[in-house]
Symmetry: C2
Subunit: 313 residues, 2 copies
């Protein structure tokens, strides 16, 4: 595919941080930013800006908070713009500096459909401070159509720059992605829409391709697919699919070899059957992550039955 307007966002440090409490060391993050800048990424997301009244810096690494001085140690002004993510309900508005005092360019507000009013308030604040703003609607597979439609209708009326379709649990297959993307395109005229997938059923890249075919103009990826549980869409695969000469996949390949192959041995993201089970049953991966830490061997078939049957409600 060649659609030159498609922009790429890397969220290696932000989503990968879910696997190590954002304890990536600064020299490594600096190399990652530099490699991604050379690869021509449009945006590099370096973490969350979490409220320190809710999360302690003693428990989490710097990329949970993305203090301005930490960002400036690893990133530099270039064509690759720095992004951070703010969770609705976990953000201290006072930590959002005016954009001209910050190295951050894009703020992505992560919300569930039912928190959209608070997401709009936070987004307005970020816009007023001068940032480009995205609203990322998480866990769409747990929302009713009516809830999602109402949420999209509200977003369509704002000056928010981008809206993301997020398959939080790695549940959707290609047919379903097609359906949702057609909805996003029709309900959000004039806005960019992006796609963020998870790999529980090994569909992160396939679903990203489908979304790009159906009109998404932004795609998220992470180096070597790092991310919570089964991980995300591998950036190196989207880059080569796009066939856009302004992207150079080679710095990303070398980052995989230098850092991420050994990190994967340590942190163990990627395809595993317990993650596939939570994915196909449209559930959060936390039960799978717990199962994989247990020492007693519960049969996977029993785990599947438990999750499928739920509590009989």
């Amino acid at each position: 595919m060649y659609r030159p307007e498609v922009r790429l966002l890397d969220c290696t440090i932000r989503d990968g941080g879910l696997m190590n409490n954002w304890n990536f060391d600064k020299a490594m993050v600096k190399d990652v930013f530099d490699g991604l800048a050379k690869a021509g990424l449009d945006y590099v997301e370096l973490g969350y800006r979490a409220d320190k009244k809710l999360f302690s810096p003693d428990e989490y690494g710097p990329w949970r908070f993305c203090d301005e001085e930490d960002l400036r140690e690893v990133a530099y002004p270039c064509d690759s713009k720095v992004s951070i993510m703010c969770d609705v309900g976990r953000t201290d508005y006072d930590t959002i500096l005016p954009a001209d005092e910050s190295i951050v360019h894009l703020i992505r507000v992560a919300t569930y459909v039912n928190d959209v009013e608070e997401a709009l308030r936070l987004s307005r604040h970020c816009k007023e401070q001068g940032y480009e703003v995205s609203v990322n609607i998480m866990a769409v597979s747990h929302a009713t159509e009516a809830e999602l439609d109402a949420c999209l209708e509200k977003l369509a009326k704002t000056d928010i720059d981008m809206v993301y379709f997020v398959d939080s649990f790695g549940f959707f297959n290609i047919d379903q992605v097609k359906y949702y993307c057609e909805k996003y395109v029709s309900r959000l005229p004039g806005k960019h829409f992006g796609v963020h997938t998870h790999n529980n059923q090994q569909l992160a890249f396939g679903n990203t391709i489908e979304a790009l075919q159906k009109g998404a103009s932004l795609a998220d990826g992470t180096i070597y697919g790092i991310g919570r549980a089964a991980g995300n869409c591998p950036l190196e695969l989207i880059m080569s699919y796009l066939q856009n000469p302004r992207f150079d996949v080679r710095p990303v390949l070398d980052l995989v070899q230098r850092y991420f192959e050994s990190l994967k041995q340590e942190l163990r993201w990627g395809y595993e059957v317990p993650y596939a089970i939570t994915g196909l049953l449209n559930q959060h991966p936390r039960t799978a992550m717990a199962l994989m830490k247990e020492t007693d061997e519960k049969p996977y078939s029993a785990f599947y039955d438990e999750l499928k049957q739920g509590d009989g409600a």
Copy 2:
């Protein structure tokens, strides 16, 4: 998706054998067959029937040859039919017993487009002996359209039961699979067509879904995706996608846990960047497999450049 006519073929032992010279022990293969029979598979492919004048039983395990007595030790008559694969040019016709003296039901003839005449001769022999017969056209991504069209035209005129579309190098993406499947459907009226994918770009399952959407009525999978290099489409994922109550994924989940998680540690199939590189460049994975065995660290970017530039021809 629910298309009750879709049939599933497992080729765990046949394709997985490419990673260990078919040295699976009989007790394990017996358990695999039994689990797959309980899971409701339509076909279980237990290996190749290679010519012992060309391949020595001293060098290869029993599933390279699939002697009748070995098959009968691990399989039993049931609704899951035994399949074997014969490579064009590597098959001793005299080893194809009359079907009523064999536990084998389906023979799959693997061919390149240019060997189709010999594939037709072998297929006729197998049909005459009483077998169901499939022709699997390998390496379609290396054939010209004209070659493929001529091959399909010849196959359309035969009484061969099935024809498979095979993405040998894990090169195709979803758009391309759509194109080829529409071709197979239109050029092979009245025949079943099947899909066999490889996972170099993590598209094995996504491409299988696309083929099933576009009319394939047979799909191949392997347990936990075992197969050469990046491996194949994970059977457990296709099974749950099909939503057909005659399939029960649970025995497959338990086989993963019992055998295939530890086998993967040993044999190391699955997504790796060198396999992604050969896949996206439409090349055989042998160079990637060699790279991964080397001890000196050639940068992946250099490997990519070498393969991309070829010899300048």
